[in-house]
């Protein structure tokens, strides 16, 4: 059953205030020129409805940058697994690229043995998506990744129409919010027509951003293992790890122990890590399996365009453009794909 609703734009503030009374609501908030972050809000005025992707993707709520996974006591030889669970969180204004990112992380973290910390965080998160009616900026490649339109992964999904938001219910949790709010109305035929028109218009606006079709991307990368392009990227990359930190589907982590000052108790934490760091693949004997930056850039791209396709039948790139937007060396995903495609033809 298709469950569509409308929320009057003038009611958005009431909705956010209602939601934030019983739980934490986070949404894109402006932080200076062209910078947005997911941060706590209590009113609609704080939210940037028209924003480019946030600096960090919503993965930070599913898998915090630094998270305690265990507490130990060395004296009594006790190790206790820990999940530092927060209360319920509503993620408001999640773009379709980030919905794809969350869906990807859900898949990998659910592979047995399941990541319980991730699962607990996920259980407490309600996702409210928001459609992009136009391109955010020149870095996005969401169309070629087929993420410019919603493909599930949300509890509610909003599309901005002229006077209202069209709202699609994607889960029981989403329907419950609609019911509780009591301010959602049934859409009329004109609203549905307006949504259709927006989607049609989007087909005109959003065009494949690279010279490769989605289904050919894997092949381009598989044939590019020995490409000079990697050496070129390696020459420019400064190995800062920004690209992986901001990627909605990068989930690699390090595990570290911290001992309390009493030298008896302490905790084990996991922290986001980056395959761009030289230490990442280095073994204890000193051998490194990706010792130069070009190899590490290649690894990052292969982890988006080939490996996950073999394993999960899905690309790990969402087309959000964050890696290109944030790169200090101006390594650009779209340009890289075009260069590789040009070289293998």
């Amino acid at each position: 059953m298709e469950s569509f609703y409308v929320l009057k734009k003038s009611d958005l503030d009431r909705f956010i205030r209602q939601l934030s009374r019983s739980r934490k609501v986070v949404a894109p908030v402006s932080r200076g020129v062209k910078n947005f972050v997911f941060a706590e809000v209590t009113s609609a005025a704080q939210i940037s409805i028209q924003s480019i992707p946030t600096i960090l993707p919503p993965k930070k709520y599913f898998m915090p940058q630094c998270e305690k996974i265990q507490e130990f006591n060395r004296e009594i030889h006790q190790w206790n697994p820990v999940v530092e669970a927060n209360g319920e969180v509503v993620l408001f204004g999640v773009h379709t690229c980030d919905l794809a990112g969350i869906q990807f992380l859900n898949t990998v973290m659910d592979v047995v043995p399941r990541d319980v910390n991730y699962a607990v965080h996920k259980q407490k998160i309600v996702v409210i998506g928001l459609e992009c009616n136009d391109y955010c900026d020149e870095y996005a490649s969401c169309r070629v990744m087929k993420n410019h339109l919603p493909n599930g992964g949300y509890d509610l999904f909003l599309t901005e129409l002229k006077d209202v938001f069209m709202v699609h219910g994607g889960s029981a949790a989403g329907e419950k919010i609609v019911k509780e709010a009591g301010i959602f109305l049934k859409p009329d035929a004109a609203h549905k027509k307006e949504l259709e028109d927006i989607r049609k218009k989007k087909e005109m606006i959003f065009k494949d951003e690279v010279n490769v079709k989605r289904e050919d991307l894997r092949g381009v990368f598989e044939r590019s293992v020995q490409s000079d392009v990697w050496e070129n990227l390696g020459g420019r990359c400064v190995a800062c790890g920004n690209c992986t930190n901001v990627c909605p589907t990068c989930y690699c982590f390090d595990i570290k122990d911290e001992l309390d000052l009493n030298l008896k108790t302490g905790c084990r934490t996991r922290i986001w890590d980056s395959c761009q760091n030289e230490e990442f693949a280095k073994v204890a004997g000193g051998e490194s399996f990706r010792h130069n930056r070009g190899q590490r850039q290649r690894h990052r791209f292969m982890r988006k365009f080939t490996y996950p396709v073999g394993k999960f039948s899905v690309y790990a790139c969402t087309g959000c453009g964050r890696c290109s937007r944030t790169c200090m060396a101006k390594i650009n995903l779209k340009e890289t794909i075009n260069e590789l495609a040009g070289a293998v033809k």
Binding site: W79, P113, N117, C252, F253, I255, D273, A284
Partner: protein, 278 residues
């Protein structure tokens, strides 16, 4: 969806009590470890555990004993970094954290009935010992057994007494070499590849199992291919940086494989086309 009990966390560790510890070389120390209630680790030869010293951290270490050894298991740990240095401070009666076993071990079922050529280099003999002892405990299930080991120098030799005992058996061939001579060394000198060429083997019936430092694989595998051993009958165990052991943290990735789950044991055929593998 089942309740997300934190006890289901893959990072839960068990307390492992060190029963015995012994310095084997300047770098390697032996540990015999017992789990609570003398529970068996339940490993396959070639698998590894994650061992922790709370406060120092956690590292992956290959199990060195045969699964047939009951009530305790053995690790031999090379001092190479912070955690292994902390482990070297420990002795009998101390407690470490253990989780695992993890990974795909040596394909013992496939190896049954075959001739075996087991080649260990340096600390590669540590995981290989779990297979050697397994094979010797079940000697009648295997064909010819050849064991070749190589070390940098005589001081680095591991399990010398055991190696000599294996060589005493009538149905086991053993050979050893060192790269550099040391005082009083009477044995062979040279790279381990030199021990392979004189062997008379039936390549179709032989499975080669190779464990050693990364540099060794390239040359040993070349030698084995010269002997006409098929690529899917050459078995290697890969060493990679590992943090989680459960296919999540990303450190051990070799192409689409997670070494901690899909490996550490692979056939040469599986990995030959992967860049960054060997």
């Amino acid at each position: 969806m089942s309740a997300n009990s934190v006890l289901e966390s893959p990072y839960v560790v068990k307390a492992g009590k060190i029963l015995r510890a012994k310095q084997l070389t300047g770098l390697e120390k032996y540990f015999e470890i017992e789990l609570p209630g003398r529970e068996d680790l339940g490993h396959e030869p070639g698998q590894f555990v994650m061992i922790s010293v709370p406060g120092a951290g956690e590292v992956p270490i290959s199990v060195s004993s045969s699964p047939w050894k009951k009530g305790a298991f053995e690790l031999v740990i090379r001092r190479a970094g912070g955690v292994t240095s902390a482990l070297h401070q420990l002795g009998a009666g101390d407690v470490v954290g253990i989780r695992g076993p993890y990974g795909r071990g040596f394909p013992t079922r496939v190896l049954e009935g075959k001739n075996l050529l087991m080649i260990g280099g340096g600390c590669g003999t540590i995981p290989l010992r779990s297979l050697i002892t397994y094979v010797l405990d079940n000697r009648d299930r295997f064909g010819e057994v050849n064991i070749l080991v190589g070390y940098k120098s005589p001081e680095m030799i591991l399990f010398k007494d055991e190696f000599d005992a294996w060589g005493q058996k009538r149905d086991v061939f053993t050979d050893m070499t060192v790269d550099r001579v040391g005082p009083g060394w009477q044995g062979k000198v040279g790279l381990i590849t030199k021990l392979i060429s004189p062997l008379q083997i039936d390549p179709q019936k032989t499975y080669a199992v190779v464990v050693g430092p990364p540099i060794m694989y390239k040359f040993v595998i070349q030698e084995l291919l010269k002997k006409k051993i098929p690529e899917d009958q050459i078995i290697v165990s890969m060493e990679r940086h590992m943090k989680c052991g459960v296919g999540k943290c990303g450190h051990c990735q070799i192409a689409q494989y997670y070494c901690c789950q899909d490996g550490p044991v692979f056939t040469f055929k599986e990995i030959r086309n992967f860049y960054e593998a060997i």
